[in-house]
């Protein structure tokens, strides 16, 4: 579709008294609740803006408990009982994947903020993701490695779809030698042996893909075990939790950030988030904020129905730039990633300045 510039949503008039009900499915309890709840905050922040001049959109938040069966229940409840035309889909790629046949069958738009499994490409027209596939991060890592002139590195990865995806993409595009590719488990709290194994190969640079809960522990325990290396993280670890836990040990860690923190959009978002929740933006909140905004714009354009939203999303996204970056959906309904290199300096993630 040709890129037609879309006005910012706050500039449009609310449709005459119509409130559009939108669904949201994410892990709001259980092991991964931290991420789901955080994404919920991003949506809430977006809603404040969208509904500033009278309520236009109402969101119903449902819990998938990180389970395909429960996600299905939530999906059917939203579709049958609340009659939503669009669902802000789950953070988990597997849950999104499990919902995608149903979404296609019922013609309900499913838009995930951060599902990155390459398999999402096969889902169909109604399924979107606002984050680039895992295969995009790997080559970016390879660029970092090249820049650091690291001809041998170690890789640590989380043993789930995401971690494996990023690791494989990296291995495919990296030219140097991989000393060890060490997996570890989601939900564990003791990674000392894994770290010792990596340490034993004497790497100078370690690439790590992980969720913050586990990843921050890895960095801390590694420091305690005397491992002085240049860490390079994936996008999900560029979060304040890593610095909170690893403290001084976090100093100098590099990481990829999806989108950009330097843009005016992000700065505005950051301030608004701080004001509303009294804390700096939590992880993925910028992505869920953007998905909500995109959906709102699509509704504005073609009304509160799924075909319209589907069409609208493709169109409005082309020119949209939000705090998490530009979101143009490609033919698979997946945004392309831009990455920013970040580094921890004086206890903060800041833009890495290439020499």
């Amino acid at each position: 579709a040709p890129a037609t510039p879309t006005p910012a949503p706050q500039a449009t008039q609310p449709a005459a008294g119509q409130v559009c009900t939108v669904g949201f499915i994410n892990h709001l309890t259980g092991d991964a609740a931290a991420y789901g709840q955080s994404m919920k905050k991003g949506v809430e922040l977006a809603l404040d803006k969208i509904n500033a001049n009278g309520e236009k959109i109402r969101v119903i938040f449902e819990d998938d408990r990180l389970s395909a069966a429960d996600a299905q229940t939530a999906f059917l409840k939203l579709v049958d009982s609340d009659k939503v035309p669009v669902i802000l889909g789950s953070g988990s790629s597997t849950v999104t994947l499990s919902l995608c046949p149903k979404a296609e069958e019922r013609k309900v738009v499913l838009i995930s903020s951060i599902s990155t499994a390459p398999a999402l490409k096969q889902c169909g027209d109604y399924v979107f993701s606002a984050m680039a596939s895992d295969d995009a991060q790997g080559p970016e890592w390879a660029k970092v490695a090249e820049y650091l002139k690291a001809d041998e590195v170690a890789v640590m990865y989380l043993n789930n779809d995401y971690g494996i995806g990023v690791k494989d993409a990296f291995l495919a595009s990296y030219k140097g030698k991989v000393l060890i590719a060490q997996p570890f488990e989601l939900g564990a709290k003791d990674f000392r042996t894994e770290i010792l194994k990596v340490k034993a190969t004497n790497p100078k640079v370690v690439f790590i893909v992980d969720h913050v809960a586990e990843g921050s522990i890895v960095i801390k325990q590694a420091a305690e075990l005397g491992m002085n290396v240049q860490w390079v993280t994936d996008v999900s670890m560029v979060a304040k939790e890593v610095i909170d836990l690893a403290g001084a040990a976090a100093e100098g860690i590099m990481g990829l950030r999806a989108g950009s923190t330097q843009t005016p959009e992000y700065k505005e978002f950051e301030a608004a988030f701080q004001k509303k929740f009294n804390e700096p933006p939590t992880i993925w909140a910028d992505f869920s904020y953007d998905t909500m905004m995109l959906v709102a714009m699509a509704i504005d354009k073609y009304g509160c129905n799924s075909e319209g939203i589907q069409k609208g999303l493709m169109e409005v996204s082309q020119s949209y730039v939000g705090p998490s970056g530009p979101k143009a959906f490609n033919e698979y309904g997946i945004s392309q990633g831009v990455y920013e290199w970040m580094v921890v300096k004086d206890g903060k993630w800041v833009l890495y300045e290439k020499k």
Partner: protein, 291 residues
């Protein structure tokens, strides 16, 4: 409403699990915390056979049942000698090991990525690709399981199982080979769990290791304890009650800020209250009458 059909399908599937667990725990006293593993074995077997090798779904379902039962048998050989909570922890361990296999045997199970595109259930060439059709089938399956386990309960065989549950040494003193009784219960129970797993796979058309976690085992446990240990009807009814309670709270219109954890909180409190008022379950084990 499709959600009602969906919940009913899940209730029939979990109901079969409850019946299976009731046979093992409620009737035979085999404290099996590895239920989710057998469920998963049934699901993965049937999914892989039908999806990757084009085996007709009815056959693959049977294969899942058979493999779950077989693994129940192998695992049972050394473990049914253990008693009470020791058996619990061993089966729990085996459950976790099985899940680790689902998760890490990537070439076969696709590991954490899960298996999408599992074929729909079909019977004699007739495809059960809508939820109501599937419900009819899964209802038939739960009916069959229910009748089977009820028959066991009412038979002299079931009586021996209860004796083993009450006092294994005592049953031995009456000349009962308690080992084989427990073994049979374990094998039949595992097979039923495998059946439930197969149904789940062909209903969801997608499975991944997160569907076979220990929480599911706990949930089914809650159901059979709430239903009245040893009572099959109670187990199924309680599964329904718990599912409706748990999912029904979605409709309660709780404040969105805390809705999801609040649902969990309320669910927990209701469970405590129900247990305190009916500690032997909604429908306690019935005394068999002899006339």
């Amino acid at each position: 409403m499709e959600i009602a059909v969906h919940l009913l399908v899940l209730i029939t599937i979990y109901g079969i699990l409850a019946i299976s667990l009731n046979l093992m725990v409620g009737m035979a006293g085999l404290f099996n915390l590895g239920l989710a593993a057998f469920y998963g074995i049934g699901a993965y077997t049937s999914a892989i056979l039908s999806r990757n090798f084009g085996v007709p779904v009815g056959l693959s379902l049977l294969a899942g049942v058979a493999l779950a039962a077989l693994i129940g048998f192998i695992i049972g050989l050394p473990t049914v000698k253990l008693v009470g909570d020791y058996l619990a922890v061993v089966t729990m361990g085996l459950g976790e090991i099985t899940r680790a296999v689902f998760k890490n045997w990537v070439p076969v199970t696709r590991g954490p990525m899960g298996l999408p595109g599992i074929p729909h259930m079909s019977l004699f060439g007739f495809k059960l690709d809508t939820a109501p059709f599937f419900l009819a089938f899964s209802f038939l399956m739960i009916a069959v399981s229910f009748i089977l386990v009820e028959r066991i309960r009412l038979s002299p065989f079931g009586r021996v199982l209860r004796g083993v549950r009450e006092d294994e040494m005592g049953a031995q003193a009456l000349g009962k080979n308690t080992y084989w009784y427990k073994m049979t219960a374990l094998v039949v129970g595992s097979g039923l769990a495998g059946l439930a797993g197969g149904l789940f796979a062909h209903y969801m058309n997608f499975i991944d290791p997160s569907s076979f976690v220990m929480w599911l085992t706990f949930f089914i446990f809650l159901a059979i304890m709430m239903g009245g240990l040893g009572n099959n009807l109670g187990a199924v009814v309680a599964t329904g009650v718990l599912m409706v309670l748990r999912e029904g709270l979605r409709f309660a219109g709780l404040p969105p800020a805390v809705a999801a954890p609040l649902q969990q909180l309320i669910f927990g409190i209701l469970l405590i209250i129900m247990t305190i008022f009916a500690p032997r379950g909604l429908i306690p084990e019935q005394k068999p009458r002899y006339d």
